[in-house]
């Protein structure tokens, strides 16, 4: 996400850092580089100019006071960071809940921005927090948009109010109105209204959207926008602001490699905060938008805050507490614990996404992209093919057991051997740490699946081994 912009910023700052003392002409050069980076990232020219003017002025103002400081480049960096956060909306804002439920959220945006999927994500997000949302299918335009919302609703266990089949039939305003009444009568505390995608220039559909707005009187109108959007973001968001009005912005498809200039443009031009960000096709891949985290991401500082939060969600307190107790009591870390960790890691989502949040990830972009997600799955398969006893006591793993595990997991015996070797090494290390009292860092299992796979050439010996495991290894099974 934002990688290209990130590496551009990285370049601008590393050349600034290489200077001993920064002059005003260095600042001009840096500003020019940032200008180019922003333009390539689809930020609207007027927004770019304003932003550059702002940081140029602040940097030049600050320069005299920085002369003696050792790290002038960092001070300039801070100025840029702060300006980015300011544009992206300052403090993250939450949805305003209505005093008298239901809280009504209406979604609006262009075709294909991701409204229907987002409706499901929002519903899940708030249902998980103990709310009782109802989805209203007011997109009667696109073929089968209603069905799509029903499927989405079903998969997040949120009811969908859909009296009309859509496909061009029915009145979306009436549906929306009836939906609100239904929600009131059934005491849902939140209503999310999905509407048809429309172009900023389509007066008729824009009118329909404002009619829906007037009918449901929403507490929040969210403008849904694709992070890959180009310069038209400015015109379109202005058209929506004038035609329907909106209170906040939701950025979708942020898991792509879009530079996300649209986000900067829209936030800056409309003065509406970006409230949510959608980061994947699955219905849980969605979060509140944090301007300061996004600014860090753009500048290549990594997004440790998000990472920590995801880890906390995935490694539930029970598991962590159990592990800690085990560690303290001197018990061995077993393959069963390892499996639990692997499962927690998969819960955190895609590894390359996780690694991408680490500071300096911009520089390792290629490696991260090539991270083999399957490695975790394969490792899990091997451990899951073991009996509980074997997981607790890896010493049991003799040749024939290993051969069986290899069969069961569809891997080679060498893969099983490899895993067991790496595991025993980690186990040994843990013991040393405990006995030597060295500070413990990450949970030990964490690093294991990411380790490079060692594939040994298996053409060394010609004779057949009596041990089935070894034999399989020789035959390259």
């Amino acid at each position: 996400m934002f990688e290209s912009l990130t590496s551009r910023f990285g370049g601008a700052f590393s050349s600034l850092r290489s200077r001993g003392k920064i002059s005003s002409s260095d600042i001009e050069t840096t500003c020019e580089e940032i200008r180019q980076a922003l333009l390539e990232s689809d930020v609207a020219l007027s927004v770019v100019e304003e932003f550059i003017e702002d940081i140029r002025k602040k940097s030049l103002d600050a320069l005299p006071t920085l002369q003696s400081g050792s790290n002038q480049a960092n001070a300039i960096f801070e100025i840029v960071n702060a300006s980015l956060i300011a544009i992206l909306g300052g403090q993250a804002r939450r949805v305003r809940f209505a005093k008298n439920p239901p809280t009504v959220i209406m979604l609006a945006g262009l075709q294909g921005a991701g409204k229907t999927t987002l409706a499901g994500k929002l519903a899940k997000f708030y249902a998980d927090q103990g709310n009782t949302p109802l989805l209203i299918a007011s997109d009667l335009q696109r073929p089968n948009a209603v069905t799509q919302l029903q499927v989405v609703g079903e998969s997040v266990n949120v009811p969908v109010f859909a009296p009309e089949l859509g496909n061009g039939q029915g009145d979306p305003v009436k549906v929306a109105k009836a939906g609100i009444e239904f929600a009131k009568s059934k005491q849902y505390n939140m209503v999310i209204v999905d509407t048809a995608g429309r172009l900023g220039v389509d007066k008729e559909l824009m009118k329909q959207a404002s009619d829906i707005r007037d009918a449901v009187n929403p507490d929040e109108i969210l403008f849904v926008v694709d992070a890959m959007m180009g310069q038209d973001a400015v015109r379109t968001s202005q058209a929506f602001l004038d035609g329907v009005g909106f209170d906040g912005v939701v950025l979708t498809k942020l898991d792509g490699d879009a530079r996300g200039g649209a986000a900067l443009s829209i936030a800056s031009m409309t003065k509406r905060p970006i409230m949510f960000a959608s980061t994947g096709e699955k219905l849980h891949e969605f979060d509140i938008f944090y301007p300061e985290r996004m600014a860090s991401r753009i500048l290549g500082l990594g997004d440790v805050a998000t990472l920590a939060e995801q880890a906390k969600k995935a490694f539930d307190t029970d598991t962590s507490a159990k592990l800690e107790a085990k560690f303290a009591s001197g018990e061995d870390f077993t393959l069963e614990d390892f499996l639990e960790q692997l499962q927690a890691m998969s819960k955190m989502g895609n590894m390359s996404k996780i690694l991408g949040m680490l500071p300096g990830a911009g520089q390792m972009k290629k490696q991260i992209e090539n991270f083999d997600e399957g490695e975790i799955i394969r490792t899990k398969a091997i451990v899951q093919s073991m009996t509980p006893a074997e997981r607790r006591e890896p010493k049991l793993l003799n040749g024939s057991r290993r051969a069986r595990i290899a069969m069961g997991s569809g891997r080679k015996v060498s893969d099983v051997n490899n895993l067991v070797d790496r595991f025993s090494a980690a186990q040994k290390m843990m013991k040393q740490v405990r006995n030597g009292g060295m500070p413990a860092g990450m949970p030990p299992g964490m690093a294991m699946p990411a380790m490079p796979k060692v594939t040994k050439p298996n053409n060394k010996k010609k004779s057949k081994s009596g041990n089935p495991a070894k034999r399989a290894l020789e035959q390259g099974l």
């Binding site: 335009q141 069905t147 172009l199 220039v201 180009g230 310069q231 038209d232 992209e369």
Partner: protein
């Protein structure tokens, strides 16, 4: 008056274009999503124009960025197989329907494969289109293997000796390696029945410079032979498609201009180029 005609009028008249005018032109070109590189190239070339017919000269500069490859859709004897790919939400399914309708109207027999087994109700969406247009839609289970649906469709199209076979695929972001690998698999599997003659990448006209990246990676993966530029009926100009033509040589073949099945046309270079500057 559009900026372009203003520009032309100025050149014709006094030939005196102030820095502010150039800045305005730059802004306009950037706003069309041409991107900074193409914009700078254009401005530099434009500054050298001394022709009496400045309008033609400037259109020529932009036109020279178009791909030298043919902008005509591929048609072969027997079944022409077309695969439609792209990122999420660009209008792939709608484009598949529009293509089907176009060929059906020109008297060809058409079979569709509902290869988007991922997005909720995408198969239904295509089926609804299919029954509206009157073409057969081959489909499988939701969340099923898209390659097997495409394979079944290809077999069906060949056995029924259909003229056109179009495969819809699920939207995928180009930076998801696993999903891109799935797409190559669909292509590989279909090509067991017959070669894919055309791979159309659907680009949303509102897309910014990321479109270039999309085209690059989809081409690496499945050899894109043409672009369908959708949503040109909005305020977006789709300038990134010209950047794709210039940098990657992939021609725009079709243009989508609305939600109805008839809002679809063959690419017309002149109106596209003029649109960029209107």
């Amino acid at each position: 008056m559009g900026l372009f005609s203003k520009f032309i009028a100025k050149i014709k008249g006094t030939n005196d274009f102030s820095p502010a005018d150039w800045a305005e032109l730059e802004q306009e070109l950037l706003a069309s999503d041409l991107g900074p590189t193409l914009t700078n190239n254009f401005l530099e070339a434009a500054k050298k124009v001394k022709s009496d017919n400045a309008e033609l000269a400037l259109i020529e500069i932009l036109t020279s960025n178009l791909s030298k490859n043919s902008h005509e859709p591929v048609l072969v004897a027997g079944t022409t197989t077309i695969m439609v790919v792209g990122v999420n939400g660009t209008g792939k399914t709608t484009s598949v329907a529009k293509l089907a309708s176009y060929y059906k109207k020109s008297g060809k027999s058409v079979v569709l494969a509902a290869g988007d087994t991922f997005r909720a109700a995408a198969v239904d969406q295509l089926k609804t289109w299919g029954s509206q247009i009157g073409v057969l839609v081959v489909s499988g289970k939701d969340n099923g293997d898209p390659a097997s649906v495409a394979f079944d469709g290809a077999k069906n199209a060949h056995e029924s000796a259909s003229d056109i076979f179009i495969i819809d695929t699920a939207g995928r972001l180009h930076n998801k390696n696993d999903l891109m690998a799935e797409l190559s698999k669909v292509k590989r599997v279909v090509e067991k029945v017959s070669p894919i003659n055309e791979v159309l990448l659907v680009i949303d006209a509102t897309t910014g410079q990321n479109g270039l990246q999309q085209a690059k990676i989809f081409t690496q993966c499945v050899e894109v032979t043409g672009i369908v530029l959708t949503k040109l009926d909005g305020s977006a100009k789709g300038g990134v498609a010209l950047a794709i033509e210039a940098e990657l040589g992939i021609p725009i073949k079709w243009v989508g201009t609305g939600e109805s099945e008839s809002d679809f046309a063959l690419f017309d270079a002149q109106s596209y180029i003029k649109g960029l500057l209107s």
